[in-house]
Symmetry: D2
Subunit: 381 residues, 4 copies
């Protein structure tokens, strides 16, 4: 059997995307997860591709988000062909709704930036919003419409990435925990797992909020902390809304089959994934304010996930400054779904020694939060 070229640690949407893009280029990868692929945050996400909805200034995240969003239409076709899975790409636009004067001002600011940046964005009055979405509350003050902010079904996306990788030859090893990295002579040479040692010249750490111990072993200070998000879903025969509705601490994402996902709370710094009654209550109150008729919809279920957050809100994307072949792609917070194709592509480029000049990744460097001195002998001090 051909030896392994790369080990990907973490089977969330980021790791799975990397496995897919690398496999598509003929790189022999193994994708490891300590539980099942897609069993954590990726499975809990609402799947908004909200590249524009909240960004008010130019910067690396804006570029990366836009670049990644453009990859979805082709990706959707490719993954369907390879796996039969439809990722549910839905391009019916996003309404960022204003509930107060302050909201109107904030949204206007975002709108101005988006237009200056050359992106589509449009202000709708309450009446225009209700013409488009008749069920929305007449208490709203208006909304910004972003036609291009589409959405996908997050669990399907993650699953399709992993399946497509498998079809293309990747090995997927679930219930396999990485205990430590093999590091020698300035290179990574593999990993030690609960199922034995795997040797490879490239190792990609993509374990989201669980990346900590391997990063520490590699001498990196990349603090990633969990931010729990609780969601619930309701069902109706005909959809209650067509667009994604986005407001303070609450968004409504219409899915296929009459499902409407309501998200999401934010609770930082704990790995506790329990959905609380209070969390549901807060979302319920907020969603009723936006869409009064939601109270008549059928309850489906509640769930939660842990978003991997960083100190500056940007993911860590890059090669280790000392240990060659060791890459990090983690800390995507609530943008993991949106950024997954671009992240996968970038890591696959690295693996092939290519660099995409169009995208500056300097802001994402893995050593940006430390002042590491690498002594001779190469041991991080």
């Amino acid at each position: 059997m051909k030896p392994i070229d790369a080990v990907i640690v973490g089977g969330g949407v980021i790791g799975s995307a990397i496995a897919y893009y690398m496999s598509a280029r003929g790189i022999k990868v193994v994708l490891l997860d300590r539980d099942r692929v897609g069993s954590q945050a990726s499975n809990a996400a609402a799947g908004m591709l909200a590249a524009q909805a909240e960004i008010t200034e130019a910067g690396p995240m804006f570029d990366l988000a836009l670049a990644s969003r453009t990859l979805f239409p082709q990706l959707s076709t490719d993954l369907k062909e390879l796996t039969g899975i439809d990722i549910g790409l839905k391009r019916r636009g996003l309404l960022r709704v204003a509930m107060s004067d302050v909201d109107v001002t904030d949204i206007q600011c975002t709108l101005d930036f988006q237009k200056k940046a050359g992106e589509q964005a449009e202000w709708l009055s309450m009446e225009q919003v209700r013409h488009k979405e008749p069920s929305i509350s007449s208490e709203i003050r208006g909304a910004m419409l972003i036609e291009e902010d589409s959405q996908v079904d997050a669990p399907e996306l993650c699953s399709a990435f992993a399946q497509a990788a498998a079809v293309l030859g990747a090995q997927i090893k679930e219930f396999t925990e990485v205990k430590s990295l093999l590091l020698a002579e300035g290179r990574v040479t593999g990993v030690i797992t609960s199922e034995g040692t795997i040797r490879a010249d490239q190792v990609i750490i993509a374990s989201g909020t669980w990346s900590g111990s391997l990063l520490t072993q590699a001498g990196l200070t990349c603090p990633i902390y969990p931010v729990k998000g609780e969601c619930f879903s309701v069902l109706s025969h005909a959809p209650l809304v067509q667009s994604t509705i986005f407001s303070h601490g609450c968004y409504l994402v219409p899915k296929k089959g009459g499902r409407l996902v309501v998200g999401a709370t934010t609770t930082s710094h704990s790995y506790d994934r329990k959905v609380t009654l209070g969390g549901i209550g807060n979302l319920l109150d907020a969603s009723k304010q936006l869409l009064p008729c939601i109270v008549d919809a059928e309850w489906e279920r509640a769930w939660s996930g842990l978003r991997p957050q960083t100190l500056d809100g940007l993911p860590y994307l890059g090669e280790h400054p000392y240990w060659k072949g060791l890459y990090v792609a983690a800390g995507h917070y609530r943008n993991g779904i949106l950024l997954s194709p671009m992240t996968g592509k970038i890591v696959a480029d690295w693996a092939e020694g290519k660099i995409d000049k169009n995208i500056s990744l300097d802001s994402y460097r893995v050593d940006r939060h430390e002042n590491v001195h690498f002594e001779k002998e190469g041991v991080p001090s």
Copy 2:
């Protein structure tokens, strides 16, 4: 094989209790359900044995409820012995909580009646309630404590009745729908089902809110309509309360394993069993008022059931006035769990030709809502 003595139509808690009590006396019964045993209201009930909590006057229901409640301790032992199932009988009392002056007056009235009737009941001040249940809101005005109003796990009770009947020789036929009654010469002689004809000298209609078409076929006007009740449950490691807490439109029933059941809404006249977001919202708000710390508990799940209600709130219990051997035991509304043992015992008495003189069943007659004239030839007009 010994021929069937009796056919019981409906495998809810009432039909299952009847099957158990009849089987225990050596009567050969078959218990039919169009779906699975215990798949409807009995499985959704919170299981309160609230014989005293709401009754303010003497009457047939009060007597029946008290008589049935006293059967539970022995029943619990017997069912455990036969089936291994623990029905979760818990005797930690019920607090009927006053939230307003009007509540205080109402509860005082119930309290007075209970004492006159010789039953235990006691007023506790807010401080006394909080001494007993420290997590309860300090906004309450006090509560009536009823030590004897215990509770059971409703799904386990229904399942244990049916299993115990099976162990004692009853046949249980699920997915078997009764199409019509066989009636001839003033007697019931069996039923026609989706799986064929079953002949028996006794047929007991115990199908709750689905009893209508057979009752109609028998010429009876016993209107039973569905009243949907929605519930949800939360979990905590240590129980939030010890007692059952009972108030306006909301009760909190502590179950084994740190589960707390919150019930129940009331929506009449539809068979739609969907749990609505609005129903959950109402219960959530009411439960927070009683027990503020409930918001920190873990969400478990939501469900609903259809209580079989009658025009006067009393079940139909009795033999058909014309067709001998045809019995009705249906329409127990939200007292089915509480009344199930006594109902089972009464029907088993009838089957043996016995009459318990201590309990007057006149108020429960099946022909109380009509003025039926039975002509010669015996056809109900």
Copy 3:
């Protein structure tokens, strides 16, 4: 509100397809189900569109099956557009596998007929089969390849039909049981349901194996009996086979996401839907013979459904000979998924007074199993 034009009784794939095709033509329909839409056989089907695999002679079923199969590609696009649901249409062909000399002879006979009928079908040697599907057992004797016998995801199809109908204006009323038909002056005028009376000039009975009591009320003798089919599914990261594999008493249908459905047993004349251990055992043994490596796949789950079978194996499709406006579309046995689009189209044609001359429906007449004499006064005798 616009009055109802048509009532469709039964929310399986047939009723849902009818609701969709009628709604698409602007007909105002209400779709009724006593439980939930798609909760019975349609949800249990493996979704093969096996129009050719077993048919050895020309006849009405062959024509109808081929005509229906051609509707799927466009249908798939339309339903995705309306509901976002992907019905999983997969066109990777079907292999009908020979395990013995007798099989070879039987399959050759089918093959000859298919070729004579001008349809694609091809014999593959064991080596050719294994070239196409390397995991298949080397014990097989060869197989007939039918490229056009594709498949869909049955639950998604049924759900998409119903949702699309709702989007197009149909009312969907679940938990609504039809008690009786309203028949007067040679016409159907509506139905009496558990939720009240609904008046309409057209009523379509599409309740599969539960159609009996309404058919009886209408004076028809259309015996439809249940045939339970048990299935299970397994999972793997990369698909074990690409084609549908079809043999004696066992078929393997590869689904998206690495799922492989193994079906199906046949147990006649009972409504019992329980999956038995013996049923699973039989399928397990048969599937191992076809695909030895299946033992390493991950167990997912088992389920069952009740196929509605008729005496001559053909569905009942037609208008009542006496009661105008009363249509029957039931008894599709294991061809309900395949025949659903054509059935929906045909019923919608009838509702509009059109007749598709290309398809003869005489063999499907609802009164073919009786010799009904309609007396003056028009009461079926």
Copy 4:
């Protein structure tokens, strides 16, 4: 708040039992689990208390098993009182069945030892077995009956231990992963977890097959490896058997409510918890041989768990030879349920500085598999 006395790492049945026994003595403990309490092997166990069924010689395991078995009756009462949970203790005996001459010889050997050891055990002929259990196959050669080898419901036991501990004041922290031990000056002083540092003078490692990295950190060589066991369950209204039936690679454990658990396969050295089709097939074939009528029972579900096995088959029970206050209680293989009360009691004794002289624990020492030299400064080399 009172400071923590002891940290228990791992919320399986062993850790939960320790938490219960320590809490019952007023020791302030915190019980940690990286997922949920009881989410692994303890939840998958069939719950046999088979102290005698397989043991053929005197030794430490025999003594410990018998001592632990005697604790269950009182434990059952205590846990019910504290938590309302019934652990399903069922004392209907165990039949170890012989299928061949070799089996007869083996069982006779066990029987002889049991009698010599003064324990009850009895040989039954095939006819006697079938008199007791009429459904058992007539192909069997006889069986050893052990009246005292009872059983419990494993998930309920684990849950009841943890709940009872919580009621008695223990803190239960789920989703909390222990990253490392705090060791200083010859003592354990606490743990570093994913949720922060917890200081305590006693730390008990009870993480079953996941204990490895902490043991390694403590300088211990206590190899514990996973052995996957797959099971399934079937349902019937009346129980198919009363006794536990035990044979080669297959046991049948009757549970309350007509459930029969069939276990268990053994697959060593992988953390993969997937249930394979082949695993089910093997159990199915073996169970059919013992109990032919099982094929008619209803399929319920399949599951698996990872038993923590050691090189000599004995658990590690003891204090660390160097780091005072650090205890290990792990590696109970398939005897965790049976040994849990005695293990909990022993660790609670240690925590109080008591030693039960009746039980020799020398065979269970944590340093029995190494020849550790503790250098000056006490760092394990």
